[in-house]
Subunit: 218 residues, 2 copies
């Protein structure tokens, strides 16, 4: 009875923290939306609060600064990427297929988490020049390191493919950059349309990945 009542009237500690995390996540979601729509600097804290029908107070209760929110968005975006390619990495398949599958997975995540991916594109290193505190610099360094780590996943497969002979690139570094550019470019031209189905996105992802890996030549 106590247990039952608890779930209805009072709140267990786990429920409380769950609600906190939820509120936290809502703010990050709203921030990603605002950053995408108005840009990093033009999006104000009030804008973010407005999306949630709340005020600045709520936002500043969960985040120390606007930069902290941006970091949270960035971190989340990277996590989405890692989660998307991880299952592909773990699979055992030829390098040619694997790099194409990874590219397709990345393309999917670009479309599926568009607000996040667009946000991190609008700032990255350049955002926060000078005005950054020491602790913020550390977070920034961590995020950049994470991005390098992520891109290394691709370069590793490229290198393996070259050594196996299944892939042929004159320069792994440049090939990796090429891939990332082509894939991340999605956020610049892909537009969400209501009538688009999941299959449509999958098709775009596959076609893009195929074009990158197999090239344009007949």
């Amino acid at each position: 009875m106590v247990g039952k009542m608890q779930s209805q009237t009072v709140e267990s500690p786990t429920d409380a923290t769950a609600r906190k995390i939820d509120s936290h996540q809502q703010i990050v979601d709203a921030a990603a939306q605002c950053f995408m729509l108005k840009g990093l600097e033009k999006a104000t804290i009030d804008d973010i609060a407005d999306v949630l029908d709340a005020t600045k107070g709520r936002v500043y209760h969960h985040f120390r600064s606007k930069n902290a929110i941006y970091f949270a968005v960035h971190r989340q975006a990277m996590q989405y990427c890692f989660e998307a390619v991880k299952p592909v990495i773990e699979q055992s398949m030829p390098c040619t297929e694997k790099i194409e599958a990874m590219a397709a997975a990345h393309a999917r995540v670009m479309m599926d988490t568009l607000p996040y991916q667009r946000s991190i594109r609008l700032g990255v290193e350049m955002y926060l020049r000078g005005s950054t505190t020491e602790s913020e610099r550390e977070v920034l360094a961590e995020l950049i390191a994470q991005r390098n780590e992520y891109e290394d996943l691709y370069r590793d497969v490229l290198r393996k493919g070259v050594s196996e002979g299944s892939l042929s690139v004159p320069n792994v570094e440049i090939a990796g950059r090429m891939m990332m550019g082509a894939l991340n470019g999605l956020v610049d031209w892909y537009r969400v349309r209501p009538e688009q189905t999941d299959a449509d996105r999958e098709d775009i992802a596959r076609t893009l990945a195929r074009t990158i890996v197999r090239g344009l030549k007949a």
Copy 2:
């Protein structure tokens, strides 16, 4: 004698306009630098003036607003691109080679005019939401149209190559986006280093173009 003196002591009207254009260009150059370093909104008019060892007064004498400066930078960036690929377009060569040469030329211009190309990447359509006046919207529309026109140059060659059978892409639209993403991505990772020679840039451009056109597959 008068003619000779004129060129030394007094200034002919053409000299005057030339100097005006020069001052104009200096401001645009400085703006591109600032935009690249600090971002579009964080770069202030004073920053731009500082680069020129001047003050706001000079900038506002030549440009009505900050947006107008951005437009000038954008326009110039596009012009650099057009000028770079124009000679390639006019040449007669197989589509496979042509698209690769165009890609290499574009890559070159990305590196050679980095401040401009980075600037236009940081704003484009999203920059100026709402606060834009009607006349500014028109300029913006013109710039976007120009960009489409530029990208059409690539799509045209792609289509021709497909119809000829020398190129094989499942989707010209996506292939074009892929190319642009891979090429424009250069501004994100390319860093100018003093020891870099012209040959180094050329090598990067060629390798990148080759990788895009021929793909990663062996």
